[in-house]
């Protein structure tokens, strides 16, 4: 059965179509894999019954010749930031522990309507705030790429974040695809750390309805898969205009999967010189240059471009995102749902509930956000950040006047050990240095696994495209994928090594 968990979505769909196996068999294989990999802590909730029921329905449809398409019967993992009807949704926070929504997010509804079988809700940084999955109230997720070979102490590694559970699940063969959300890199960075493909679509491409909000002007759902084509297939099912999200774009979705197989000959790809930051590790730099070369070899034209405001992106992001978060998280007050810790007065109840319900990173960002919006500081921080944000977006527009896509590293390093960087929030925030500019500009960007670090850990390259031009991003990403020939299976195979005996 283990072969079933090694498939991609397209391959599995082909197998289902040819009746090589049934959707129920496919679901069972993944349910077993999930159960066998609990040590990774990738899931907060497993939903085997719902997955089997959905798979059985899928088999029946296929028998009746009414297959819903390529995702019909495909087991997917859902980041626990998406509200799922009747299934606990926590956002990785104590404050939402036990919260069972009576409604379904648009993205997961779209996937379910396409026949997908949800096998569980994946772990994440609390309210998607983090780059390590360490801030989850449900414990950290472990990277299936495991303790680096030859490193003393055999420390477990982070999967990245915030969509770390989803990334770990895909890398470990626990699902064929997963949903993630990306606010400042939360899809791309864990994809890079876990050696999978992660695509953040254009802001507005996927509906935010039913996704627990972190920073509303940045949050965007996207697919996390083992290959570029699967990302295209999944995006096609997730995306689309939704009248329930006023920021969702009323733009029709093209055939993303078709775009993913188009050659890059003649494509103009930009290398932003400002991304070559001081102190950049030589292996990241080398990988980046290799990426340039792969694209050139396939007929793309690679040129240097300038994104002059890049160095302001990180501070801008860490003003805008906490500002919005401080407001978005005000609703967790113990009054209507989630955790309530009583108090003598209403204010006491607020303070008790929020102190007990939010972890330190969430509290830190609420404080930062409250500060930058407060009277007397608004102009100096929030307003200025909005102006810089507009300049960053303009940088990209200018660059895209001459190039079709931009190539950059996804993260400044491979996965680090759990416990590293936790003392220094700034060091942690630096993880997002290559991902936040595209987030601030609302542009589509994808991380594609491109190689291994000296320590044998995956490294991703990032393709950034024009707004609503996921097609070019997929096209360039597929070219990197072809050239890199990356084997997305972790060198340490999860079920065998992450089992109980391992610890």
């Amino acid at each position: 059965m283990s072969a079933l968990t090694d498939l991609g979505i397209a391959e599995a769909a082909a197998g289902l179509a040819k009746r090589d196996f049934s959707a129920v068999e496919l679901a069972r294989a993944h349910i077993a894999a999930v159960a066998g990999a609990r040590a990774l802590n990738a899931f907060i909730v497993e939903t085997p019954d719902a997955a089997l029921a959905a798979a059985a329905e899928s088999d029946k449809r296929r028998q009746d010749g009414r297959s819903l398409g390529v995702l019909d019967g495909i087991p997917l993992a859902i980041k626990d930031l998406f509200c799922t009807e009747g299934v606990q949704t926590t956002a990785g926070s104590r404050i939402l522990k036990g919260f069972v929504p009576a409604y379904e997010s648009t993205v997961t509804r779209n996937l379910k309507r396409a026949g997908a079988a949800m096998i569980g809700k994946t772990n994440l940084d609390e309210f998607a705030m983090g780059s390590s999955n360490i801030t989850s109230a449900f414990g950290p997720v472990k990277n299936p790429w495991g303790p680096p070979l030859g490193r003393a102490g055999n420390k477990e590694l982070v999967p990245g974040g915030s969509s770390g559970g989803s990334a770990a699940a895909i890398a470990a063969g626990l699902a064929l695809g997963a949903t993630g959300t990306d606010t400042g890199g939360s899809i791309r960075q864990p994809a890079s750390f876990c050696g999978i493909v992660g695509l953040k679509p254009t802001y507005g491409r996927c509906s935010r309805f039913g996704i627990v909000a972190f920073a509303s002007s940045l949050d965007q759902a996207g697919p996390m898969t083992r290959n570029v084509k699967d990302a295209a297939l999944m995006l096609g099912a997730m995306a689309g205009h939704d009248p329930r999200d006023s920021t969702s774009a009323p733009i029709p979705c093209p055939d993303f999967a078709r775009a993913a197989i188009a050659p890059v000959k003649g494509l103009r790809v930009g290398i932003p010189k400002e991304y070559r930051i001081e102190g950049m590790s030589s292996e990241i730099d080398a990988l980046w240059r290799k990426g340039e070369q792969w694209l050139r070899e396939q007929g793309a034209e690679v040129v240097e471009v300038s994104l002059p405001h890049t160095r302001y992106a990180l501070p801008t992001y860490y003003i805008v995102a906490p500002a919005e978060a401080s407001s978005n998280l005000a609703r967790y007050d113990g009054v209507r749902f989630g955790l309530r810790v009583p108090g003598e007065t209403l204010d006491d109840m607020y303070m008790n509930t929020r102190a007990a319900g939010f972890g330190p990173e969430v509290r830190r960002r609420i404080l930062i956000g409250t500060y930058v919006l407060s009277a007397g500081y608004y102009d100096a921080y929030y307003l200025k950040a909005q102006k810089v944000r507009a300049l960053i977006a303009r940088d990209f527009r200018d660059a895209f006047a001459t190039v079709d896509a931009i190539l950059a590293p996804t993260a400044p390093s491979p996965a680090f050990a759990i416990g590293e960087k936790t003392e220094d929030p700034i060091a942690m925030y630096l993880n997002d240095v290559f991902t936040v500019p595209a987030s601030l500009a609302g542009l589509p960007a994808m991380s594609v696994p491109a190689g291994l670090s000296a320590g044998g850990l995956p490294l991703g390259l990032q393709i950034i495209g024009r707004a609503f031009d996921e097609e070019t991003v997929l096209r360039a990403g597929a070219a990197i994928e072809r050239a890199a020939g990356f084997d997305t299976r972790p060198s340490r195979l999860v079920p065998a090594k992450a089992g109980k005996g391992d610890r």
Binding site: F82, C83, T89, A91, L96, F99, P101, A102, Y103, S105, R208, F209, G210, I211, V212, A213, A215, S216, S217, P243, R244, D245, S246, T247, A323, E324, S326, S327, L329, A330, R331, D333, V335, R336, F337, L346, D347, Y350, T370, L373, S374, A375, Y378, Y382
Partner: protein, 493 residues
């Protein structure tokens, strides 16, 4: 009217008043959700997940509410801003589910406008409107249901409000009252707010400061949530006097939020916790800036009804009414419609050309009395406009006297019958037959020879007494003019 001055020990003071009116938009559903916005339902039965601030819920703007607000802006002769922005006003309260209210701040939908006050002396006075913005209402905290706990009703949460902010152009409690009534009248004409202060669909925050006439503005206090026109006027009076006392006692007025206690007849400061200091406004990232096309606004402008000011002008021009009468008649659109139908004659009545001044008198002095006594709105008047018009006709053509008409009207009020039928059935037609009147006159003179002699001797004042006696003898039906003429002839010799 004369300027209202507070007589202090140090001389005269005047009040400077600005009003912020929260007017609930008439709309089937809420500003950002599909839940019903109708008043009076069982608690928490009209609450969508958006209104309750559930995780992942997003606001979607109700376009009808925007249309209503634009209509209101046009009715206030105000500038419509084609781009406006919804912002979040952040504060924690148990009846504010999201922890923020979606409102407009820097970029309101409607800019500067005007409300014309109709003063009791018939003059007018323009009051500036600073802005109108659209926002959502909070829920309701019920503190009186349980000794220890507070209950929350979210039916109102998310209902659309228009906040209409006046310039500090008002000077007296009376002007504030007239302003509120005029604003309410305009909103009702437009059909954008029912103006019902008891149900809370119109609420008022009052900004008051005082100064010596001619001085620049001094510090103001804001009195929150005053819920009737009367209370607004009282609150201003109390607050202005309080401030004068404060200054004259050597103290000062601090900029603060106060509450009006109508039982004690005083304003008092709100506890610091009852309002937030820093709302941390920022543009709501869940909503795009609201952009309207000039054509969109033009279409709404083209369908605007005739508003009280225009109607008043027309009533003065076309019907020759006094500014006061016209002003009174146009306060409610329904009253104005009633008057016009009665004055012009509706379909099937076909007389037209009535003495509009007479009709106005009947409506203002007699019909209003009847409606008041019965507690009925004009739309449910037992006396229809057509019947009132007929009644005026019956007077005009001499069928009945004005005195009899009052009796007929009373019967109409009780029965809703046609005045002609009442007159016919009760035989109330005026006696114009001079023979019959002469007989009655002769009878009265014969019965009172002494008084007749006095009149003949020059005591003309007694003539009126004779008229009364003849009218009495004829059951009021004699034409008073004819009676007078015959009496004069008989007693002048």
């Amino acid at each position: 009217m004369g300027a209202w001055r507070i007589q202090g020990e140090s001389g005269e003071w005047e009040a400077v008043i600005g009003l912020e009116v929260h007017a609930q938009v008439i709309s089937a559903s809420k500003l950002f959700s599909g839940a019903s916005a109708v008043f009076g339902a069982e608690p928490n039965t009209q609450v969508s997940l958006v209104d309750a601030g559930f995780p992942g819920m997003l606001p979607v703007l109700n376009e009808y509410c925007v249309e209503q607000a634009v209509r209101t802006g046009l009715g206030l002769k105000a500038k419509i801003n084609l781009t406006s922005v919804f912002e979040r006003k952040n504060y924690f309260y148990a009846d504010l589910p999201a922890g923020y209210q979606i409102s407009q701040y820097k970029y309101p939908l409607v800019g500067e406008g005007t409300v014309i006050l109709d003063m009791p002396d018939g003059s007018t006075r323009p009051i500036g409107i600073e802005r109108l913005h659209v926002e959502q209402d909070a829920g309701k905290s019920l503190h009186d249901q349980d000794p220890k706990r507070t209950f929350i009703d979210l039916n109102r949460s998310g209902v659309a409000l228009m906040e209409i902010v006046s310039r500090p152009d008002l000077r007296t409690p009376e002007e504030a009252g007239i302003y509120l009534r005029k604003l309410r009248s305009i909103l009702r004409y437009l059909g954008t707010c029912d103006g019902n202060m008891e149900e809370g669909s119109m609420r008022c925050d009052v900004n008051v400061s005082v100064r010596k006439p001619g001085e620049p503005l001094r510090t103001r206090a804001e009195i929150k949530n005053v819920n009737s026109v009367r209370f607004v006027m009282q609150a201003i009076e109390h607050e202005a006097r309080r401030q004068v006392r404060a200054y004259e006692e050597g103290g000062k007025v601090v900029q603060e939020t106060r509450l009006y206690d109508s039982h004690k007849g005083e304003t008092r400061p709100m506890r610091a916790k009852e309002f937030a200091h820093d709302y941390r406004y920022f543009p709501d990232p869940d909503l795009l800036p609201l952009r309207l096309s000039p054509e969109y606004v033009d279409v709404i402008a083209a369908t605007l009804p005739e508003l009280p000011d225009e109607k008043k002008d027309r009533f003065m021009r076309d019907y020759g009414l006094s500014p006061y009468d016209a002003g009174v008649l146009v306060v409610e659109r329904e009253t104005a419609d009633y008057f016009e139908r009665a004055a012009r004659g509706g379909e099937g009545v076909g007389r037209g050309g009535r003495d509009a001044k007479q009709v106005a008198n009947w409506v203002i002095s007699t019909l209003f009395g009847l409606l008041n006594a019965k507690g009925l709105p004009v739309t449910r008047s037992p006396v229809s406009a057509d019947h009132l018009g007929k009644l005026v006709d019956l007077i005009a053509d001499g069928t009945i006297s004005g005195r009899i008409a009052k009796d007929v009207f009373e019967i109409m009020g009780e029965t809703g019958r046609d005045p002609a039928d009442i007159v016919a059935a009760k035989g109330l037609q005026q006696i114009t037959d001079t023979g019959a009147i002469e007989a009655a006159v002769n009878q009265v003179i014969a019965a009172n020879p002494d008084k007749a002699a006095e009149v003949r001797a020059g005591k003309v004042a007694l003539l009126g007494w004779f008229t009364g006696q003849v009218m009495k003898a004829t059951g009021g039906k004699a034409n008073p003019a004819a009676v007078n003429a015959i009496l004069k002839k008989k007693l002048s010799g």
